[in-house]
Amino acid sequence: MFQRIIQLLLKEFLQLRRDRSARFRLLIPPIVQMLLFGYAATFEVFNVATVMLDQDHTQESRALVDSFVHSSRFELVAVADDRRQVQAAVESSKAQLGIVVPPGFAELLRKGQSAPLQVLVDGTNSNTALIALGYAGQISGAFGQTYAQDLAQRTGRALGRPLVSVKLEERYWYNPNLNSRWFFVPGVIGTLTLITIVNLTAFAIVREREVGTLEQILVTPIRPVEFIIGKTLPFFFIGLLEVSIVTAVGMWWFRVPFEGNLLVLLFGTCLFLISVLAIGLLISTLCKTQQQAFASNFFILNPMFILSGFSFPIATMPQALQWITYVDPLRYFLIIIRATYLKGVGIDILWPQMATLAALGFGLFGVAILRFSKSLD
């Protein structure tokens, strides 16, 4: 049995070695996309539509509002009278960012204490929001620093800590430095792996069906399970290789520090790849030609991508869609890769995601094997 699986594996690699376009598809698009995503994610943002609410009505609060207004990063689209208006403006997408100076802001500053600045963001475009949030931090930070220097000159005491702290009302992100590139790079790794490996697996099997070699192989003593293992195992290794390459680009090209344990990520990646291979296999059982496979890839991978939380936070989705995200393997892998990559979180915290991913993977694989055996009749 092992002998036959190994022969299939060797054959697969031999074909891959000979197939220039497959090698190209395997390496170049992921790297190009990684670079594109990596750079696109850090594009500067200007004129973020902003709604402001000053509940403090002091000289200090007005000065802070002014420094936002005078920044080219923000464009004041409305001045609100109460918090409801701020929320409404952000929710209706009239503004992407809401800034609230709460009452008592100046009083805290005058005492030399840290004063909170509340920020609401429109999470549907988390990239812009994230960058805007970073600017808000910078501007309020600069404001706080100037104020502290003033205060020190007037009162003669120095302050060790920053004066103004930006408080996000709802946080979805792990990335403590508000660096969007850091946030995106791990997500890109997961997404690219999904797309490439599902494609390769589905195509490799559908091609055998199309050319007629599938039927030819199945009249030999090989069992369907052996065929499936021999056919998917190469792409498992290729998937690992791909994750390694793209991770390396992230670490050494974009200098996104890897905080966690590589073995934890490797384990999570293996679990993820089982789901990915199963999806590829499932697509191959539903399609007779490579063209059909291409079309269904589109219908399956796009929703998986959108529902994964890669660019749209799951918490802001309608409830029905949120339920669907629970069967999206990419959702769990993104949590795992972001948590290990950026926060250095280990299995002790990630085990629920790992367990779900394993259950999903083996479940999907079981269904795929059943469907595959049936599709042979």
Partner: protein, 315 residues
């Protein structure tokens, strides 16, 4: 138990339905080791369906298949190592070379390297393909692809070879080599089941079975089948076969007319009818280059038998 099996293939009451359509109905036959058994029949007769069930890629709805003493339905995996199946279009890996394709199939059947290498050499030499061993399968001609398919099918020395229209679209030279390989397998005791659209090929078989709409109508040696054909066969060479065909059809004693290249084959109830037919053609102004009684070909026979059957049903 299998070594002394007097029959290599035994099929009994085989049946396959696709919805309302019965593709194979109650098919029974047996093939001895070293025998070439032909399956002939019009398109859709159920030849491919029958072969696929024998190769256990399709499950029958009823019936029994025993190959080399192994019940195929009960233990398909065990049977598969003795069977080779060449579908209508053999699936080759076009991005692998001739040698690599053969090697892959040898490995799937667990054939030791020394054994398959020797065998591949012999098979490729017989197929006149030795110079192309390193060529990619995708770059071979249609005939060479079929011969490579045969080599892949034979590399593990099967006891039963199932060939589904193996020579369709293959040039005559390759076809001859193909048949030479098949003949050489007789002495190895390989039982061969071959379906063919070429009736001249059917005549090369030891026995043939005629299939129509899923049912086996006749099964015998080509010679015996020809003998069964009642009446006689007249071959008329004429410059205008179509007109001759129309003129002769419907004359008394004429059972069937078949156009064959330069003339027509007329199936008559007795050789005595020749003068009558010649007169009718002359009356219609159709020239006759020759008119002879000939031994019927399988094609004639097939049509004659089909017609006879249709008449039987009608009356």
């Amino acid at each position: 138990m299998s070594a002394c099996a007097a029959v290599a293939i035994e099929v009994d009451g085989l049946e396959k339905r696709f919805g309302a359509l019965t593709a194979v109905a109650g098919l029974s036959f047996s093939v001895r080791p070293g025998e070439i058994f032909g399956l002939v029949g019009p398109d859709g007769a159920g030849k491919t369906t029958a072969m696929r069930m024998l190769a256990s890629v399709m499950r029958p709805d009823a019936g029994r298949i025993v190959i080399d003493g192994i019940d195929v339905l009960a233990s398909p995996e065990q049977a598969k190592s003795h069977i080779s199946y060449m579908p209508q279009r053999f699936g080759l890996y076009e991005d692998l070379t001739v040698d690599e394709n053969i090697r892959f199939y040898a490995d799937l059947f667990d054939v030791p390297a020394r054994v398959w290498q020797a065998r591949a050499e012999k098979l490729l030499a017989a197929a006149d393909m030795t110079p192309f061993r390193r060529r990619l399968a995708g770059q071979l001609s249609g005939g060479m692809k079929q011969k490579l398919g045969l080599a892949c099918s034979l590399v593990h020395t099967p006891k039963v070879l199932l060939l589904d229209e193996p020579t369709t679209g293959v040039d005559p030279l390759s076809r001859r080599e193909f048949w030479q390989i098949l003949y050489s397998l007789r002495s190895e005791g390989v039982a061969m089941l071959i379906s063919t659209a070429y009736l001249d090929e059917a005549e090369r078989c030891d026995r043939i079975a005629m299939l129509n709409a899923g049912t086996m109508m006749y099964c015998d040696t080509p010679a015996a089948l020809k003998e069964r054909m009642p009446g006689a066969m007249l071959e008329i060479i004429t410059p205008d076969p179509r007109a001759a065909h129309d003129a002769v059809r419907g004359l008394p004693g004429v059972r069937g007319v078949l156009m064959v290249g330069t003339g027509i084959h007329v199936h008559v109830d007795s050789g005595e009818r020749r003068t009558q037919i010649a007169a009718a053609l002359t009356a219609a102004g159709i020239g006759i280059e020759s008119l002879e009684e000939v031994a019927p070909s399988i094609e004639d026979l097939f049509l004659a038998l089909l017609e006879q059957d249709g008449a039987g049903e009608g009356g």
